[in-house]
């Protein structure tokens, strides 16, 4: 969405990025790729546990002759396969949550920020009411209400997220709404729809994107926290959160169960965070323009 104003090529711009951007981007891409290819590399099946192979350290050969490169967990699942499958779940949960929360937030934030008045009043008050609940509590309540399922986790998390996005969008919509270039479109006779789509929205997107990247990371962590409290995705679906949460009892004995997905989670979240920072830095001059 950032226009390539300086006419530089994509490759040129990439080369101009600092090292940490490359590392972060590389990590994220690697993980996404691994997530996509996961089923080919190390197929995972929740219903293929092998109690005799449980708690084996990384690099052990299993009873069926396969190699557990990253060890096995407390039911004898191959950690590698589980982490690969878990990434799909965790990323899906995070992305869908952010997408759902983001779109709802975008829509409501735009309405509130642009039109102000009673629309803003209602949306902001509802947001306030919701923010009066610490978000983890709301997620706990909802996850508790709805029962464990991936969809419910997404709902619980998305419900707690929309306000954040709505506030970000409302803030920038409010800031842009009275900018002179918007006024100049109004003077021209532009309709609300045109102003919203052509003027307000583009200015809201960069901060929204920054917020979204940050939230993708935080959502993955929140999903793990819900798993810890037993309110995460159900056992039949591997997720990083639940693997880490299940593995917590083995931190002292079979550290690899929690450590591998934990490290993966931290890596991805940090990488996304770094990218978010860069995006923020990159989008600041844009909003200044």
């Amino acid at each position: 969405m950032t226009v390539n104003v300086r006419g530089a090529t994509l490759a040129g711009r990439l080369a101009g990025l600092p090292l940490r951007a490359h590392l972060a981007l590389g990590t994220v891409l690697l993980f996404v790729l691994a997530g996509l290819l996961g089923p080919l590399l190390a197929p995972y099946d929740a219903a293929r546990t092998s109690p005799v192979d449980r708690l084996l350290p990384p690099g052990t050969r299993l009873s069926d002759g396969a190699m557990a490169w990253l060890g096995t967990d407390q039911v004898g699942q191959d950690i590698l396969a589980e982490v690969l499958a878990g990434m799909r779940t965790s990323l899906t949960v995070a992305l869908v949550t952010v997408a759902v929360g983001g779109s709802v937030g975008l829509l409501l934030g735009l309405l509130a920020g642009y039109f102000g008045g009673w629309a803003d009043g209602i949306i902001s008050r509802v947001g306030d009411i919701q923010l009066a609940f610490p978000s983890l509590l709301l997620a706990i309540l909802l996850a508790g209400v709805l029962g464990p399922s991936m969809v419910n986790v997404i709902i619980a998390l998305a419900v707690t997220r929309w306000v954040i996005f709505a506030r970000v969008v409302r803030g920038s919509a409010l800031a842009v709404r009275d900018r002179e270039f918007v006024d100049s479109a109004r003077v021209m006779g532009a309709s609300h729809a045109r102003i919203l789509a052509g003027y307000i929205l583009p200015s809201c997107l960069p901060p929204l994107m920054v917020a979204a990247t940050v939230q993708v990371g935080l959502t993955m962590v929140a999903e793990a926290s819900l798993s810890f409290l037993g309110l995460g995705v159900p056992a039949s679906q591997a997720s990083w959160g639940s693997t880490i949460a299940e593995g917590r009892d083995y931190l002292a004995s079979a550290w690899w169960i929690a450590a591998v997905p934990g490290a993966a989670l931290a890596l991805v979240v940090v990488s996304i965070g770094v990218l978010g920072d860069l995006l923020r830095d990159a989008s600041d001059p844009m909003t200044e323009l």
Partner: protein, 347 residues
Amino acid sequence: MAEAEPLLELADLVTSYRLRPGIGRPGGVVRAVAGVSLTVRAGETVGLVGESGCGKSTIARTIVGLVRPSGGRVLFDGRDLGALPAKELRRLRRDIQLVFQDPYASLNPRMTVAALIKEAWRIHPGLVPRERWDDEVRALLERVGLRAEHAGRYPHQFSGGQRQRISIARALAVRPRLIVCDEAVSALDVSVRAQILNLLQELQRDLGVSYLFISHDLGVVRHLCDRVAVMYLGKIVETGSKEDIYRSPAHPYTQALLSAAPSLDDWRADEHGERDEIVLTGDVPSPLDPPTGCRFRTRCWRAQDLCRDEEPALVERDTGHPVACHFPGALPPPTTTATGSGRLMKE
């Protein structure tokens, strides 16, 4: 020029802002424009001067429809903008365009120059047939002194003066009859400012547009305008032809303003130590709570009891042009020399 039809007429215009109450701040209503009548005739340039915060921009914003008046009427071409059906109003809006002070902020940073100009035609389909858009853009850019190849660039790739040219081109795209320039040259460097002023004059000559030219720079207004209105705290205190105002200012505020305005020749006066200068003490009162009677009386050296009790109307007194002062005239104000220590007036 003087005999032309009034193109824009403000009749007792009032525009207020509602202030939301906040911490340690009561709510209230700011009457930023408190009953202003003003006309701009076709092909004429009217200057509006006054201190910061006196309501100049508010008038501009009201005229172009960015804020709603809370009283009075805005007549364009004899038609009351407030009474027009929405559709007609939209068409009429085209005829009044606004050029803002800040050429950095008034152009959408995400649109190319061409897109910025074409946006006008997208909003008003039928104004220019689509196949002529590119040609028209080129013509407009050349008209304002830019080159056609600039069309594909983004605003931030231009200097301030060039951006202001783009703003003007964009305003011209809808073929307006009146352009309101709100401090349109104030942000520009001296050398570039002259370019834009020349361009404005040239456009008026060629296209016959009228300007309402808002500025606090008296020199520029004098250079550009046919008639001048002086504003103070939401009201017009004096209006007349350029000569009237600059040669024989009758309102004490106008006199103070003129004497305070720096000019290139100031050094001469200074050299001989005899420059007369009216120094106003006291701050501009808050528009939330304007003084009773004459609004200027708190800073006026001629103020008398009458000024407190009665608000002077903007009428032609024996000055030859309308002035809102009970005691108008060219009588020399108590002045101070540059070296003097003068406190001039009672508070």
